[in-house]
């Protein structure tokens, strides 16, 4: 069987800060067409892992590959293929949705002649048509999140990394977001971090459970029959039990 090359590959990635290990020896592959849910309690190291995946933070050891390119050796080229939505959408409040997305499109290397089409596509996919002339600072939390998502997908990246994308959204908005993530995953790899089990169950193909900076389990969602009990079991393990494991 032909196994597709992973879009994202983490090889023995660790991150230490002031003597503390935030992420330890993390290895992970995410192929195209897969939505990976990075599950963990607060402080498990999810956001740090995501920031290393997108090149915002340099790993202390280990290597991150995006489409086979080492993020440390070819940072600018590799980052072009990544769309990133941090926990707080990185908006410019002084600009309208359309102006902001135009800037993002150009920032991600889209040519002047293709910007209009890319902006229209992102606006349509994220259902922002009615808000396109509004200042981003005046949008509700849900629409801010959608604009953040639109900037992450505007250049059609091969890897989309989303940090707690559904936080603060109402149930309807969260449902729409999940549908959007599923549709995006057809052409790329999606990694999303969350501590909400229902997000993982609703839209992920694989799940990776992170606890105290270590990858404790990674498997297709179908193979984790009782995800909730597995997550609770790992999350409640004491450090001594972890070292024994």
């Amino acid at each position: 069987m032909n196994i597709p090359a992973p879009v994202l590959s983490l090889s023995h990635v660790s991150r230490r800060l002031s003597g503390n290990t935030i992420v330890e020896d993390l290895s992970l592959d995410v192929p195209r067409g897969v939505v990976l849910g990075l599950l963990g309690v607060n402080g498990a190291g999810k956001s740090t892992t995501l920031r290393m995946m997108v090149g915002m933070l340099t790993p202390s050891t280990g290597t991150v590959f995006v489409e086979g390119r080492d993020l440390a050796s070819h940072p600018q080229l590799a980052r072009r293929g990544i769309g990133y939505l941090p926990e707080e959408p990185p908006l410019h409040g002084e600009l309208t949705v359309e102006e902001y997305l135009r800037f993002c499109a150009r920032l991600h290397g889209i040519g002047r002649d293709k910007v209009h089409q890319a902006v229209e596509q992102a606006i349509a996919r994220c259902e922002l048509g009615e808000m396109r002339h509004r200042l981003t600072s005046l949008l509700s939390k849900g629409f801010r999140q959608r604009v953040g998502l639109a900037q992450a997908i505007i250049h059609e990246p091969s890897l989309i990394v989303l940090d707690e994308p559904a936080s603060g959204l109402d149930p309807i908005q969260a449902l729409r977001l999940r549908e959007l993530m599923r549709s995006m995953a057809k052409d790329c790899a999606v990694v999303l971090s969350t501590h909400v089990l229902s997000d993982v169950l609703a839209c992920c193909d694989r799940v990776a459970i992170l606890h105290r900076g270590r990858l404790r389990k990674t498997a297709p969602l179908s193979e984790i029959a009782a995800l909730e009990s597995e997550f609770v079991r790992i999350a409640s393990e004491s450090p001594s039990m972890e070292s024994a494991a």
Partner: protein, 252 residues
Amino acid sequence: MSGFLLIARNDVKRQFVQPFAWVVLALTCALLAWQFLVALDAYLRIVPKLANVPNSQGATDLIAIPLLRSLSGLLMLIVPLATMRSLAGERRNHSLPLLLAAGIGNLRIVLGKFLGAYALVALVVVIALAMPLALHFGTDMDLGRLAAAALGLLLYAGALTAIGIACSAWTSHPALAAAAALVIGSFLAMLDMGARFQGIDNALINWLSLSTHLEPFLFGLVASVDIVYFLLLTTLALLFAGRRLDGLRAHG
């Protein structure tokens, strides 16, 4: 368009959709126009007497250069305000990840931020220069000297802007960035005066001062050593800002 030009253009746009840039421009223009008109009025009153004095000073010496010297003092206040939010504001608004995660190098981000802030500062310099230049329609202005002063002020403003950007990269609090830029700029500007006060006239400490290198331009002297000083200071400050962004990637 290159990444840094894109960032610069976006920053200019963001500045001018807010009242801040307009208020700075309006206040600066009002203050300089007032000084300009007062100096012009005084000049017009003494002009008949000056006509009888051989080698007397003209409008360039009595109106234009004092105005531009005042501008250099004003820039010390304006530049920290124009640069304080460049990077500190991005960090505070959580929008820096947009730039850091895009395929643009740290130095290009810094250069874009520098050009974005410098556009406003340079506009202030250009508006100030337009006032004495307007006198050229009625009297003979020393255009060569004005051109030298303009070059000096633009280089001086560039160095102050780069210092402001470096301070803005250093902290996530815009007010702290502005205060730090004001302190560093004032310190560099007053080094020469302080040294002279202590009787030190021609030492390294005098050479390090911003004013030591601005004054020759205001007298119409364009020396390569002064140009190199301002370019070196600008480059060092921008490199510091770039290193700070490297540090943010390395240490979070």
